[in-house]
């Protein structure tokens, strides 16, 4: 089974670099989180709302991961924060080495928080530690309420769940209570927020938590 052996080696090597990243982030006293979701769940919109609300309160840097284009980095740059775009060129997830190379061009010493926005993929990024403190999984109500059960790996490895696009609930067959229940069945320790980046609902609660987490860092 050569493929599995190689895959293990890749993950072991990735974990080594993730540990280096974690040491680097600790040296700069950074709170770092890795935002993961399906394509189009609203990761970048959540970032925009967050940057808007935290302006002046926290110094935030961003690493954007995308299969192609630097659209997300352009969107984030409008908020006047340092941002670097990783284009994976077909790669389905970020790896620790890509992040290590990317953060070399960010002014880490001047930051409180580093947000890594992963490639839109609810499967592959689950297994790749980037050196973050925790993973935030974003799920859109438009995706339906069964996704935590169907893609459990990501929900198991995340610490925070953001249920986004709650403004669409009146128009969808999604049962948001069932969605949350399904996620907690996979991972009872998940901290859950419900947000709408259109109406702004829930953004303040999410940002309050983020601020308190950033304040707790060593």
């Amino acid at each position: 089974m050569p493929v599995i052996t190689i895959e293990r080696k890749v993950l072991a090597k990735n974990d080594e670099v993730a540990t280096e990243n974690r040491t680097l982030f600790a040296r700069h006293g950074l709170f770092v989180f890795n935002v993961v979701s399906s394509p189009g769940a609203g990761k970048t919109s959540l970032l925009e709302r967050t940057l808007e609300l935290l302006k002046g309160a926290l110094r935030v840097g961003v690493v954007e991961g995308d299969v192609q284009t630097d659209f997300d980095a352009q969107r984030v740059a409008r908020y006047g924060v340092p941002v670097v775009q990783i284009v994976t060129n077909g790669g389905c997830h970020l790896e620790a080495k890509l992040v290590q190379d990317a953060v070399a061009s960010l002014p880490l010493e001047g930051l409180d928080v580093l947000i890594i926005e992963n490639v839109g993929n609810l499967v592959c990024p689950a297994n790749y530690d980037l050196g973050e403190a925790l993973k935030v999984v974003v799920v859109s109500t438009a995706e339906g309420d069964d996704k935590p059960l169907k893609y459990p790996g990501m929900f198991r490895n995340a610490s925070v769940l953001v249920i986004n696009k709650v403004d669409l609930l009146p128009y969808l067959p999604c049962d948001v209570e069932a969605l949350q229940r399904n996620a907690l069945q996979i991972n009872p320790a998940l901290r859950v927020f419900r947000t709408s980046c259109t109406s702004g609902d829930g953004i303040a609660a999410w940002c309050d938590w983020l601020r308190s987490r950033a304040a707790d860092r060593p």
Copy 2:
């Protein structure tokens, strides 16, 4: 670069088995398509609407691919069609061998059409030929209009694009014309349908096309 070498071998081996599948499908005169999308774009709902409308007109079999659970097979089975569920147990895409093993338990000789519903992932399934005649990529309007540019591989390798959940357009910042334009920029040969599995809009046009494609098969 051992990983890349192994990856090439995996794809080459997959292509060999896909060719065997294609031969098998041709022997039974089956029209086979592979439905791909992000999680929650509405692949299974599209299948349900399709099975409902094609009942009595075409004999359809289904292969369901999921990371976990047999929810989708259960949903499809209600329509009285033969269905087999592949659970990848964390795997991010279907491979030709999994499909080969799965179809061994389907009554292929009695079918006109075989629909393979892939794992919800807009990246990885793009490169895995399963022996299908063509790929149908489903994108939900809730995912936004930039996805074809950000995940071009899947749109490049598909022959048909279904823009689903058009009933949500009044409530979304998605510009459906831009979405279609972006997709056609990546792949000008895409046949495009716009559907809503909630309102039923566009389902008849999609099924008409499917029927005519099935009639054209050798």
